[in-house]
């Protein structure tokens, strides 16, 4: 029995954390958050140099050959810093090509994606909350038509993995004719979303796309759960810190039991749930019979409680918590992204119920 991180995994989190402390400090996060593109080339380059673009890809394709748990730990560390950029969509796109692509497709794309020479993303969600592979409707034999909503950083991505009717996956290149991209104006300014309109755009199927799609979805659920854990625990820390410094009636407000108990209830929701996302990430590679359900439960639970914690964090900060200048909003909005992307908690709880045979 060893349910703890290895030394290598702890080192990974420390290294990434240290890098972000230096290169992605609060003022820069704020600048990117408020900026036009939600993207900083230098920060992105630094992350690639740390190996974050290919942690989960095979070594022969330029990756680090690690597992989903390692990718999720990186996602947690990035989330804790509020690091803006295309990490999430890029990770899922490269995983999709790895799991569903032909050998030729893999060797064409993976080394470039792992090395940061190209950015990838995924186009999954459709109008009406259709996120799951069996719900996708886009059709096209070689030429794809239709609309995908909520595509992370489509405008930056050279290649987009698009979910199509029947639950398969296809590749669409940004430079192809019939591809139109427009910003959504998403709530989380640290992870920008675009609408992808396809009008007879040439596409190329991933031969094992149907097998890969649910796995990519599950990996996405775990990464969102990891990010939600980061948002929730960061907000607890910020709220506790505020309670230790803000004074009223001549004492720090952390003395007051009403606030103390509110902070404890936030921590008691979030802290144990770290193990839930660890378990789901571990199950993805090691407990195949539980992987799908564990991912659904982790995403539903963590994003639900992260949102509850985020609302409580605003209250714990008083009036300042409601302002644009207060950084609480950054993680509040990341939690909103985590909650809605790939389907709400209710969707994944129902899936978990079905998968349990209830």
């Amino acid at each position: 029995m060893n349910f703890d991180l290895s030394e290598e995994q702890q080192l990974l989190q420390q290294t990434v954390g240290q890098f972000l402390e230096n290169e992605c400090a609060a003022p820069l996060v704020r600048e990117i958050f408020e900026g036009e593109t939600g993207f900083d080339p230098a920060l992105c380059k630094g992350m690639v140099e740390l190996g974050l673009a290919g942690l989960h890809l095979p070594e022969e394709q330029g990756g680090a050959g690690l597992e989903l748990i390692d990718l999720a730990l990186a996602a947690e560390t990035l989330g804790r810093a509020g690091a803006p950029g295309p990490f999430f969509g890029h990770a899922l796109a490269s995983l999709a090509i790895r799991l569903g692509g032909s050998e030729e497709q893999q060797s064409r794309w993976l080394p470039r994606l792992a090395g940061g020479d190209a950015i990838g993303t995924v186009a999954l969600g459709e109008e009406g909350g259709l996120w799951q592979p069996e719900e996708w409707t886009l059709v096209g034999d070689g030429k794809l038509c239709g609309r995908k909503l909520h595509v992370p950083y489509a405008s930056l991505a050279e290649v987009t993995v698009v979910g199509v009717a029947g639950g398969g996956l296809v590749l669409v290149e940004r430079s192809a004719p019939g591809v139109e991209i427009a910003p959504v104006g998403g709530v989380d300014r640290s992870r920008r979303l675009d609408v992808l309109d396809l009008d007879g755009a040439p596409c190329e199927a991933l031969p094992e796309g149907r097998t890969a799609a649910p796995r990519v979805r599950d990996a996405g659920l775990v990464l969102l759960a990891a990010d939600a854990f980061a948002a929730g625990s960061r907000l607890v820390e910020m709220s506790v810190e505020y309670a230790k410094t803000r004074e009223q009636f001549g004492v720090t407000i952390g003395h007051f039991q009403a606030l103390k108990h509110q902070l404890v209830d936030m921590a008691v929701e979030i802290e144990p749930a770290r193990a839930l996302y660890w378990y789901a990430a571990h199950a993805f590679d090691h407990i195949p019979e539980e992987a799908e359900r564990a991912a659904a439960l982790a995403k539903a639970h963590l994003t639900d409680i992260a949102m509850r914690v985020a609302r409580a964090a605003v209250e714990a900060h008083g009036g300042i918590g409601f302002t644009w200048e207060c950084d609480v909003q950054i993680w509040f909005k990341r939690a909103m992204f985590d909650r809605a992307f790939l389907g709400t908690p209710a969707v994944h709880r129902e899936r978990a119920a079905q998968l349990a045979g209830w």
Partner: protein, 404 residues
């Protein structure tokens, strides 16, 4: 990460299983013995093999094993699976014995530890008083030394099992002029004497697990004190480095949740199994998120304990998390049993027996509130988590003031 126990521990598990297969339930002539005697023989053998009383020295009737959280967890799992008698879980072996082993005189250990470990001495805990709950150190029960005996006067409350107990370990004020915490001593008091009157305290379920204990010139020998005069508060806080059973509480929550899912499968809603109802499915899956978080956090704490590392704030949270789960299980169960929620939990049972079926869920609905209060209310737990876990400042009112 590896969720198996590993080769060495799986071998150990096989060893435990073989022991259980050979010894429980009792075989041959032993199967004819009265049940309690059969259990006692089994326990004796399990101690000899190192499976029970692991943290107790051999000379006091234990098996004196090196602390090993994982072995302890395997033993609990396998004994539970075989329905075999485990360690005596009374308050005597759980609280008094570790305290005596750390702070007691040699003769006290010899006299009290072995029979307590065997379950022959039953103990109750005399801590809370009607006027001293959360603020325990304000307690007023007085003990005065008269000749060679302590003479004790006062009232204790919430005394689980006092009606069965042979002895009480009791906090009494012996130094009335000292400050609040420094005026308390830790005494051992025989229960079967004229100065001790036990009155059952019936709880809202109708059962009576607690008591009030009236001490009126109750007596105990001068040397039945653990630690020195005025050290009782410190003695009562002492805990040994023993196996912490960090997954035990979570396992109970998991088992309770499994029971709830069974209930949802058998209960009906709109003529169909209730588990097909979308609202019930949502609530069950939402609760499962909390239950599994608790369960997997238990694995993590087990791992850290085994490595001698601290899980930090998490370990202060276990009781509150279990309490929260108990509340939520109770609420969902009450909705599932529908108009059986009109039933009295123990109307058709002898007093004190735990009811089964839907009446059992009503009992749990109420009992979960008792659990939330026992051993420190949920709000006291929140203070502990806030102050020790999150490092928030202590409540000004909780700073020590004189006892008088």
């Amino acid at each position: 990460m590896d969720l198996t126990y590993g080769k060495e521990y799986e071998e150990f598990r096989e060893e435990v299983r073989a022991f259980l297969a050979a010894n429980w339930p009792p075989k041959g002539a032993e199967a004819e013995l009265p049940r309690e005697e059969g259990k006692a023989r089994f326990r004796e053998r399990a101690v000899t093999c190192g499976y029970l009383a692991r943290s107790i020295p051999k000379r006091f009737g234990g098996s004196e094993q090196a602390p090993d959280e994982i072995r302890a967890a395997i033993i609990r799992e396998e004994f539970f699976r075989a329905h075999a008698p485990g360690d005596i879980r009374g308050i005597g072996s759980m609280m008094l014995v570790p305290t005596l082993l750390e702070k007691g005189e040699e003769w006290q250990k010899e006299k009290f530890v072995p029979p307590t470990v065997r379950g022959e001495f039953i103990w109750c805990q005399g801590y809370s008083e009607p006027g001293s709950g959360s603020d325990l150190a304000s307690l007023k029960a007085r003990a005065e030394l008269v000749g060679d005996e302590w003479v004790i006067n006062g009232q204790k409350i919430w005394t689980t099992n006092a009606h069965n107990a042979d002895y009480m370990f009791c906090l009494c004020r012996t130094e009335p002029d000292a400050s609040k915490h420094a005026g308390i001593s830790y005494l051992l008091i025989p229960m079967k004497q004229p100065g001790v009157e036990v009155q059952p305290l019936r709880q809202m379920t109708g059962g009576a697990d607690f008591n009030q204990v009236f001490l009126t010139d109750a007596r105990t020998p001068r040397d039945w004190i653990v630690g020195k005069r005025g050290e009782g508060w410190i003695v009562s806080r002492s805990t040994l480095k023993h196996e912490r059973n960090s997954i035990g509480a979570a396992a109970q929550s998991t088992a309770m949740f499994a029971g709830l899912v069974q209930l949802a499968k058998s209960a009906r809603r709109n003529g169909r199994p209730a588990i097909e109802d979308p609202e019930i499915r949502q609530r069950l899956a939402a609760l499962e998120g909390t239950v599994r978080s608790h369960e997997y956090s238990g694995y993590r704490q087990l791992t850290l304990d085994a490595k001698g590392q601290s899980p930090g704030a998490l370990q202060t949270m276990n009781k509150l998390i279990s309490t929260n789960i108990g509340h939520e299980v109770a609420k969902i169960a009450l909705d599932l049993i529908d108009d059986d929620g009109l039933l009295d939990p123990i109307a058709d049972r002898a007093m004190g027996r735990i009811p089964s079926g839907n009446r059992g869920w009503i009992n749990q609905y109420m009992y979960s509130l008792g659990i939330a209060v026992a051993g420190g209310t949920a709000n006291i737990q929140r203070n502990v988590i806030g102050e020790r876990g999150l490092g928030l400042p202590r409540d000004a009112y909780a700073q020590g003031r004189p006892g008088k």
